[in-house]
């Protein structure tokens, strides 16, 4: 009788995932708990960290023979298209990440909710969005030096663009094996923008510079708002055709918002659509971070390089603003350069916060939104250049 019960218990145990759980899985589950804690208790990027955190829980349940419900097979490889009959629902959903479908859809929603009028009222500030992309290319070089391939280095470098969807888009195309680590690093550092940026901003500016006040923005006409997405798309797409999917949907969303005759579509894009895609994207990225694919030396290097890229991007923006001031009669507050890091609107909020520490009556938030949204365009163009040069 005891033998029978033991054999039954062994059979039951074999059908559970408990037998296959490793120390790595346990570490990942703890990391997932930290993510959910940060989102729920500390309100750090909850819309991203909750789906990613829960996805990590799901992705770290080991596969059991005959019951492969995740995206990896029992050997730990991504289930190939040739075996689609064995795919579970998660593997089907993961196609949106693997083939870079979700990030452009998120850009559609971002376009439909972004107001470019502050940028249109002060075109000089657009250049700060370009300067902050120095972080992308210097990190690209750093990653090459650390032994990554050019494709992997490009995907790691784009973390400095501080744009989660762009980072996922590029890594899905150039370095799918590193996608989980890159996405987690990008979103983690985006959540840490209020911690990473202020010391660099204070270090590189004087008290006098931080107190510079900006002129109020001018009123932007409707015609300007309608013409801008069309012209900006044509300029960026012709120069960096690799970014057509990202930039195209970004400006399509913005045109829907600004032309006022497609309000229903714009409303859907900036609410229901972006919410659905954010949920699926975050969850699928979390699912892809199973212990064997995430707990690798490369991931540690990616996290170090990610922090470096955010720091360089911030410094690049601030120093370029100071450089511009050498030629400008009307000086710009160099803190605005830090908002070129396109973590919208977090880095703009940080600029406002640091500016108000010196002068509580100095309101930089709306001015900071200009380099902030220019940074979104800049990072998409940077991704387009890297993709077109390295995709073959």
């Amino acid at each position: 009788m005891i033998d029978y019960l033991t054999s039954i218990a062994a059979q039951v145990f074999e059908t559970t995932a408990l037998g296959g759980i490793s120390v790595g899985n346990v570490i990942m589950i703890v990391i997932a708990m930290v993510f959910v804690y940060l989102a729920v208790a500390k309100h750090y990027e909850p819309l991203l960290l909750v789906p990613i955190g829960f996805g990590i829980f799901v992705g770290n349940i080991p596969a059991v023979a005959g019951m492969t419900s995740g995206i990896y097979d029992e050997a730990g490889n991504l289930m190939p298209f040739s075996q689609f009959e064995q795919w579970g629902v998660l593997r089907y959903l993961y196609i949106g990440v693997e083939k870079g479908i979700f990030p452009p859809l998120i850009f559609l929603g971002i376009g439909a909710m972004t107001d470019f009028s502050t940028m249109l009222s002060n075109p000089k500030l657009v250049l700060l969005g370009a300067a902050a992309q120095l972080g992308v290319f210097l990190t690209f070089l750093g990653a090459l030096g650390l032994g990554f391939t050019q494709q992997e280095s490009a995907a790691i470098g784009i973390i400095g663009g501080a744009d989660g969807p762009t980072a996922i888009f590029l890594s899905s195309k150039l370095a799918p094996a590193l996608l989980g680590a890159i996405a987690i690093a990008a979103y983690s550092y985006m959540a840490l923008v209020p911690v990473i940026q202020p010391p660099i901003m204070r270090l590189l500016t004087t008290r006098h510079e931080r107190r510079i006040r900006m002129k109020p923005s001018r009123q932007v006409s409707r015609l300007e708002r309608i013409l801008f997405p069309i012209a900006a798309f044509l300029i960026c797409a012709l120069l960096a055709p690799g970014a057509v999917a990202l930039i195209g949907l970004l400006f399509f969303g913005n045109l829907m918002k600004e032309c006022l005759v497609t309000e229903r579509l714009a409303q859907t894009a900036r609410t229901a659509l972006i919410d659905i895609v954010t949920m699926l994207l975050g969850f699928c990225v979390g699912v892809s971070t199973s212990a064997h694919s995430f707990l690798r030396p490369d991931s540690i290097k990616i996290f170090i390089l990610g922090a470096l890229s955010f720091a360089v991007a911030t410094a690049g923006g601030v120093l370029f603003a100071k450089f511009m001031n050498l030629f400008l009669r009307e000086k710009i507050n160099p803190l605005l350069g830090a908002a070129g890091v396109s973590a919208v609107p977090d880095s703009a909020r940080v600029v406002q916060m640091v500016g108000q520490e010196e002068d509580p009556n100095n309101f930089l938030l709306m001015h900071a939104m200009a380099p902030n949204v220019a940074g979104v365009i800049g990072s998409a163009v940077a991704a387009g250049v890297l993709l077109s040069q390295l995709s073959n």
Binding site: A130, F140, S153, I235, K301
Partner: protein, 144 residues
């Protein structure tokens, strides 16, 4: 992946993985320079377009006037009032003229007023009813 392999990987992390190779770095310099140049070129062009756009828009009406003077037959036609439909017969002619003048002043561009009629008590019945309900929904208290 077995845990022993993870330990092995952890040991490798400390030594070999973080070795820096400057030669590999220099191989990427041309692409990095190309990339940052394209980003700057794109955003300089966008910035220039944004700077020029309001001036171009400001010039448009003057250009319109200029072409209108060159070809007088293409001048903006004065506002015309369509023959009023039957139900608007009660609008006096002088009121129609005032409406046409106001529309011409507000819109500027050539336009046609298709329909004008006075509102009847039936037209405003719904809003009147709503307003009455709103006003009667409060119980007014007498101040002691």
């Amino acid at each position: 992946m077995p845990d022993e392999t993870m330990l092995l990987l952890a040991q490798q992390t400390s030594s070999e993985s973080f070795r820096f190779n400057p030669e590999a770095l220099f191989e990427g310099v041309p692409l990095a320079l190309l990339g940052i140049s394209v980003v700057f070129a794109a955003l300089i062009l966008v910035s220039t377009f944004i700077a020029v756009l309001p001036r171009a828009i400001a010039v448009l009406p003057r250009a319109k006037e200029f072409f209108a003077r060159l070809w007088p037959q293409r001048q903006a036609r004065p506002a015309t009032v369509a023959p009023p439909p039957e139900q608007s017969a009660e609008v006096p002619e002088e009121i129609l003229v005032v409406i046409a003048a106001a529309a011409a002043e507000a819109l500027g561009a050539p336009h046609r007023i298709v329909h004008a009629r006075e509102l009847t008590p039936e037209d405003i019945a719904w809003s009147l009813e709503g307003r009455m309900q709103l006003h009667t929904s409060h119980r007014v208290r007498r101040k002691s």
